[in-house]
Every structure is written in C-alpha cells, then in structure tokens.
Symmetry: C3
C-alpha cells in the first residue's frame, strides 16, 4: 500500500466552463503503477467543483441551465456587496456541488460507467489557471 | 493496510426509486475482515447517485419533490433533443447529487448516525440493473 | 501506511449555523504525524453536512439564502406530518449537500486553496452537540 500524488493542470474560460478530465485522470493512474485503490480528485479553490456527467453538449447545456436557475448570475449577492469581485454566485454554486470526488480503481482502470466522464466545472466569472489535486491510495 | 473490493448488485424501478443499501454495505465490511478505514461507494453510471438520509417514507417523498422542483421531468432538455432517450433530467439530477460517498469505519462498523441510512438513488426513467462499486481501504 | 482516527466535537445553534472547522481538521492532521494521504470528514447525522466555502459573512448569507429558496423552511413536509419534529427541511437539505468530504494532504498540510475553508453546516432546527468523524489514511 502506498500514496501517489499528481496534479492535473487546466486552463479554463470561467463562466461555467466544463472540462472533461477523464483521460488526464486515467493517465495519472497509469503513471502511478497502482492496480487497485481509490483516487481522490480535489479542487483547491472555492469557485470550482468536480463531478461526473455524460459529456455531450446537451447535458452540459442542461447542467448550466440548472445552476443559472437555482443560483442566478444576475442578482445581488452579499459576497459581492462586501468584496466587489462580482463572483458571489460562483462561490455558492461551488459550495453546493462540492470540491472533491472519490473514484475506485481496479485492474489499473477507473471504475467509470460507459457514458460517465469526470468533469471539472469552473464557476468563476473569468478565465483561470487551475491545478487539480489527485491523490491515489492503493497497491 | 490493504484494499478490499466488493460490489452491491441492485435492481431498481427507475423514476427516482430510492433503495436503502446500508445493510449490504455493512455486509461488505463484515466480509472484508477490516477493522478500521474508509469505504468508498461509487455509482458507475451517469444517471444514479449515492447519499445518506433518514430512510422513512416522508423524507423519501420530500426528497423526490425537491428534484421534481429544481430539475423537472416535464420540460424540454437539450440532451433529449439530441439523443431522444427522454432521460435528460436524470443526467442533470445525478450530476448534481454526485456519484460517490466516502464513509469511515471503526471497530468493524460504519460510523453512521442512528437515523442515517445509505441510499442509492436511481434517477433514470426506467427499470435498471446496477452494480454499485464498493472499495474498502484499511487494516 | 496506516489509518489514524480522530473526532472534532462541535456545539451548534442549529438553523443553518455554519462553523469553520479548518483549524481543527489541520490539528487532527498534525496530531496524526502523517505526511501524505487523504483525510475523510464525515457527519454521523442525517441533518448536517460538510463542504468548503470562502468563510466570510457574505458567502455564508448567500449560501443560507440558496437553501431557503430551494428547500424552504416554511412549508409542509411529509416527514413532519409523520414525525412532528418540524425538521423535514433539515433532512432534505442535508441529503442534497451530503455528509462527507475527502481532502488530500501533502507535506503534513491539507491541500486547500487560499480562500477555501472547510465548513460544518448544521441544518437541524435546534442547537446540537455533534462529533464529526475524521479518518486519515496515509503515511
């Protein structure tokens, strides 16, 4: 048993840019040499999240609509009143969806479904460079 | 320290069928022989999720109402326009609630609260057979 | 590789009291002596959750508004009709946000972002004593 650390660097456009990071995550696993265990993916940020979805344009559009409806970008936020950076909605969306995801792996492969991809969602209101933290525990 | 893998097979009716899988998860732990560690439960699917709730009919009904309100089944989805399988709302609900759950265990028992059960939520619009992935890391 | 267990005791006021538990989590890591691995934080309760946010009053206020809008406290819940404890909305909010969070650590430090704090959210409708479960797997 051991722990192997890696990072996935991403460049986003912000505004709910959604990136498919499945291949990069599997590459991290390949490089680790581990066969069985759990991969934890973590956003070291309060304006981005990780989840899974079927990565096709319809689902991405529908997912963006959900967040625009329940946490609208065009309304007043107490965070913005205090800090003036205009990304109050980004913080609330990210806190709701959450910063981390744990995915088991077996036989050197992530146990994802056929139509299931890992996505990084950048809720911030501007382009950002991000380093997603990947921690693999296994043997 | 070691990793022990198991699966929990379930048969669902779809349409936000909610199954209590607490006993099956504890059975996996019993079979593993592990005493202390973390169990990761993962849905290898883009239309189902895992969380915890007090498993009684009132909470289940209230939980279903929430999803019907924020991600209604009766409206148009871009996913459906492209793929025609009519389960666009299933994908969006599952991406929001998330596919995985990590639960610590100690003294051979999951550290759940008295009124807290592990649930598998099938958001798909039809009956499905599912294999929930269970990965236990511990000693 | 080993597993180290700890608890974080908290006293809350309920009604979506939000506590910053970042320092206590880092203290648990310091006490463990571990250098690299994953910390799992878990609420053994069906009316509380853990996530991350920028812990400043504006974000907390905005986050409370979101839950009041999508899971209002002032309406009827089937859970309350059956059990009469008036915290139906607490259960639904907690099931949505989720009971657990996994955070990688490296060089004896949690890999949190600069403006990212770990929060415990008590959704119950009254003051509670809680023991958050902390499980660290690493070396």
């Amino acid at each position: 048993m051991t722990v192997v650390s890696a990072n996935i660097p991403v460049q986003t456009r912000g505004n709910m840019d959604i990136l498919d990071i499945t291949r990069q995550a599997q590459d991290c696993l390949n490089d680790s040499g581990l066969q069985v265990g759990v991969m934890t993916l973590f956003c070291p940020s309060s304006t981005s999240s990780i989840t899974t979805i079927e990565y096709e344009p319809g689902c991405l559009s529908d997912f963006r609509r959900l967040f625009e409806e329940i946490v609208p970008s065009q309304r007043s936020y107490d965070h913005d009143a205090r800090w003036g950076d205009g990304n109050g909605y980004s913080h609330i969306r990210a806190a709701l969806l959450g910063p981390s995801l744990a995915i088991p792996f077996r036989d050197r492969s992530l146990t994802l479904g056929t139509w299931q991809q890992i996505i990084f969602v950048d809720f911030d209101n501007r382009s950002r460079h991000r380093e997603i933290v990947v921690q693999m525990v296994g043997e």
